[in-house]
Symmetry: C3
Subunit: 472 residues, 3 copies
């Protein structure tokens, strides 16, 4: 007999009654605010075509690196989870079999955010009332699978049901924004924006960089073999993204937070070098750093908010990369320095009130030591929410405890779900709201904040700050 | 209508009732202990001349980098806050207007220690009973301003009212200690000591270093163009500070914790180099490191307690530095290594029981990894309290949680307020006492410490350890 | 009059009643599970000879670096604590006098795990009911001393009384495992295994490395002057340890986590170099790194679980080392990088499901940033429990909070006591069980885990995971 799946109304609130009572009251006021998702990786095609999502395994397991990396870490082969091989070699095609492996290994997810997100989606979206296990795997598979075929489970219907006020996707400057245009002309009222992620054309170590520059020249009509033409092409695409994709932000996923502020001559020479394909790792790093500063300059001109997401050692596992490709759970955080790394950019533009840079980190030691002091001083800097591995109850608590005393709440920007997993979006925002209300509840219970202040902050964290910071 | 300003008697105690009840009982026994302020930056002139403090804005906003940096981070110009420009250019002169900006932006300080310190001063010192906001800004301004003119709000009266047993200021070796002498001869009983801060004459990168050496020679009669004469001059001034300023400690604010133990010949050559003004950044660093070891030697001889405050990247914002000068909220912490950095000094003097070095950090990762293991072994090392950005409720809690298990309580030294903001001193000590009692309360509630032990520790943390560690 | 010594039944559980109630219930189910001690440093001779332990000071103070380092840090000379000098010079020989110093300084241990471990041993093993202090020092000394002479306080009797299911000691590959053999042939049923710690023969900077290689050749009959012979000798000893010591694991205590994967030719040349005694620090580091990869290869072949314990700056205090030798409380943690350091080994063997590497750290910043993401991906990696300075209530709490959300519980391996202090073993396991139950209690109280899940995890953390991870 399976066990009941429940979502307790007090979940994630502090265990002590004094804090919890305040948290509960605060949460009641913010839980139904619309979702603002200013940064993420859902596929705009879903909203454009509005086709049904596939079966449960293909929806919840095969594309979710949080899920399959945990199973892989315990010895389950990615082939058995249906993760496609780059060489097209055999992998499990039977979604039900994949689902059963997942069901039989639920204990691995105990205490992880994945467990909470999945429970939330199963319970709230699909009405599942049993905890998934080896015995009920098929029954729950069928229950979800059947609903996925219904019109009210198509992307647009879920978008509305999730009460999403606006969502941003992320595209390369080379993207023509076909799906965004299709959404716009479709008559559907859902607000789906793009964000400008130039890594493929500003990172010399990005696969296909040289070809990408050629393509960038082709679609903009600029001479991308020259530094000036290259910059003009990037600006042209920013304008295009603003016009055709409602873009309000850029995003930069560099391995470090390095910035540079080279003279035009030196920058131009460096560009020639990286364009030629013959450059050192240091030169690649320097070029990426220079491009952050160039992007800051463009942001001052066109108003796009900059996001910097540094510090991931991508594709740490070369064997896995060769077999299965990128984004397979093998991206590992590294210690990240901001104080020295950002200085060239800040020396140039740090005091610009027209510039807004949102800094993220995968190195929690930087919250109180670097990010909060920087954002608590420079008018151009804000701190993004707890990111990736730290988009989790404990991660968010540490974030508030480490950031708030130095940077306050108003140098932060609300929540990002940053996800490819559409079904997890309501769960993730709900976790963030609960944790923030819990943190505020403790401040009130400890008489460090008055209740009316906590109420105002709770609304800002759940809704207002994201809209303001991302100009939505 | 404005909202009431209250200071809840249980503020800052843990939210759970078991810990809170113990915290409350412990706090009752320490709250009225006199304040020992063994390290800080108040101006001795205040106590010497005993002139009234100026208006509310000039007292609370213009000189407080915690306050104006937060406003600056949200786009308020420092000129509008009356922060003086180095070129004498125009800045706001109307204190009331400055106050109004501050009042209208109180939400920025929610959850920060500044909010607590200000509320405490407003409530306890000036009897303010409304929460400051845009509407009551003028009324509260007037209320504070009127009191500042009264005799009982002059520095000495407040010193006594604050129950300050002893306070240390911080002076350069070039200071003649005029104000300290004036205090001593004035007949007033307040105990105000100096601390010896030699950065201007031991840091080759300090502005005016060469001139400072000349001046050091002049006032000591030593030949500060020679290494031996230079050391003798520093010793002479230490003796002067002990004799004329009641000095019991030195203070060293280097960018890192680097120490060195060079041979006299090499040290002498290095001195010649840095004195000439032609040296590398590495040589400057090495010289500062050597001087820490020289100061340790002198401390063994004359008994002055050493404080090392490393790890701040001072003046990170060159535009701001050029316009407004030092100490404008642009000092950013950096990752700081102690284990390797202190080794030369410790290899020489680490086992000296006559030596007492108090280590501070702006890198919280070093608490449990480096500082507690070092202080829990070397007889010459103690750990200073949570410093600067971490002189805050969460910062102090993390400090105790990270330090105590390895170093115990008795390798720590009580609280430092380390402040220029005289009016915040009672608030800061009160916060520290409350947080320490809260931490002890939790240990008792978790049956990790008996109540009588917690009572003894609470008294030591609030009063006894500071007196002992600083030889006061 | 002395104060009562009590062990509260709720000690170490969270202070809030909701979490505590669950913790209490969980703990009731695991408190009597047998102790699995898969890694530690007790002396196998104790179990082989079963001689009485000596007097209280020689048992609790003289060999325990946690205890004497704290006293040393407060100015007590190690000579006065009876710590033997390398030169055979005079040290205190009167155990009672040593005990009195310890008794008079109990306040130094407030809030430390040593205080809890000692209280547990005094109370549970010796029935002491007074808190040790200067007044009752002699009385408690006598009480313990008298019992130590009784048969039921000999090692084997205590082993059984402590309910130890299995314990591992740690030996050099040069050890003949005499005591393990003696235990095995004695007829006693206690299960005592060895672990293979090759530092003396794989670390070129280990004292006596060259002689150790000669000895390794002698006992294996292999030509340890050649790279191939050397590797064969190490393999021969692994087989010997498995056969004669029940060995299931190896242990590697390198200063960093550096690994290397050199070609056989380069490795062989490097071996010749380090064997010659003429090598750089970098070459020593590289050789140690290569040996970790060689050991991983051997582990895949023979199934021994690898433990890596990196990051201690051993013997930081050269004066103390010269006078008293190693392991005297002067080993200081350092920042440790895993992401880059482990890559050569992981590139080669990271995806091997037959390989199990347990990673430890003295740098808590790596828990959430590096270790949990690595272990949550690579099938060959697991995370060892909170180690050394962090084998403490707060240390274990931070560990669970920082590790679980990314790695789950099942990429961790239960508890290690890792101790030389036999009498502290029950206390240490009890602390770990209480803290884990407290953490789980909070997850249940916050509705992040169902009670039945917490019950299963509590059992696994207390018993099952250690057995499985160490193949016991």
């Amino acid at each position: 007999m399976s066990l009941p799946l429940t979502l307790h109304p007090d979940r994630l609130f502090p265990a002590d009654e004094a804090s919890r009572a305040v948290a509960r009251a605060l949460y009641a006021e913010v839980k139904d605010l619309p979702i603002v998702s200013p940064h993420g990786h859902t596929d705009p095609r879903w909203y454009a075509e509005n086709e049904p999502f596939p079966d449960p395994a293909t929806l919840f397991i095969v594309p979710d690196h949080y899920v399959f990396r945990m199973l892989y870490s315990q010895g389950v082969a990615l082939e058995d989870l249906g993760v496609p091989r780059r060489d097209g070699g055999p992998t499990e095609q039977d979604s039900r079999k994949i689902w059963r492996i997942f069901a039989a290994n639920q204990h691995l997810f105990r205490g992880t955010p994945s467990a909470m997100w999945l429970a939330h989606a199963f319970h709230e979206v699909f009405g599942v009332r049993e905890r998934l296990d080896a015995d009920n795997a098929d029954r729950i598979y069928d229950q979800i699978d059947a609903q996925l075929k219904l019109p009210e489970f198509r992307p647009r219907a879920l978008f509305e049901r999730f009460n999403i006020e606006v969502i941003a996707t992320t595209e390369s400057p080379l993207d023509e924004l076909k799906w965004h245009k299709q959404i716009k002309t479709s008559g559907w009222q859902g607000r789906v924006l793009t964000a400008y992620r130039p890594d493929p054309v500003v990172d010399p170590e990005f696969p296909g960089f040289a070809e990408n520059l050629v393509e960038l020249g082709r679609i903009t009509g600029e001479d991308t073999t020259s530094w000036r033409g290259y910059l003009a092409a990037l600006e042209t695409r920013r304008a295009y993204f603003r016009e055709h994709g409602g873009c309000t932000s850029t995003d930069h996923g560099h391995p470090t937070a390095t910035t540079a502020d080279l003279s035009p001559k030196v920058a131009s020479d460096l560009f020639d070098k990286v364009r030629s394909g013959s450059f050192t790792a240091h030169e690649a790093e320097l070029f990426r750093g220079q491009m952050l500063t160039e992007m800051a300059r463009m942001s001052i001109e066109d108003g796009l908010v900059m996001q910097i997401h540094p510090g991931s050692f991508r594709n740490h596992n070369p064997g896995l990369l060769a077999k299965f490709g990128r984004d397979k759970g093998a991206d590992i955080p590294t210690a990240t320095n901001y104080v020295h790394a950002l200085k060239p950019l800040l020396d140039r533009f740090g005091n610009e009130t027209r510039l807004s840079i949102i800094l993220f980190t995968l190195d929690e030691t930087s919250y109180s030591r670097e990010l909060a002091p920087l954002a608590g001083h420079y008018p151009s800097l804000k701190i993004g929410p707890a990111w990736w591995f730290y988009d989790s109850p404990e991660g968010m608590r540490r974030y508030r405890e480490l950031v708030t005393e130095t940077a306050g709440f108003y140098n932060t920007v609300g929540f990002n779900d940053d996800t490819r997993a559409f079904l997890s979006i309501p769960a993730r925002h709900d976790v963030a709201r609960r944790i923030d209300c819990g943190y505020l509840g403790r401040l009130v219970a400890e008489h460090r904040l008055d209740l009316d202040e906590a109420q105002a902050v709770a609304r800002d964290l759940a809704h207002g700050l994201a809209k303001k910071a991302y100009k939505l």
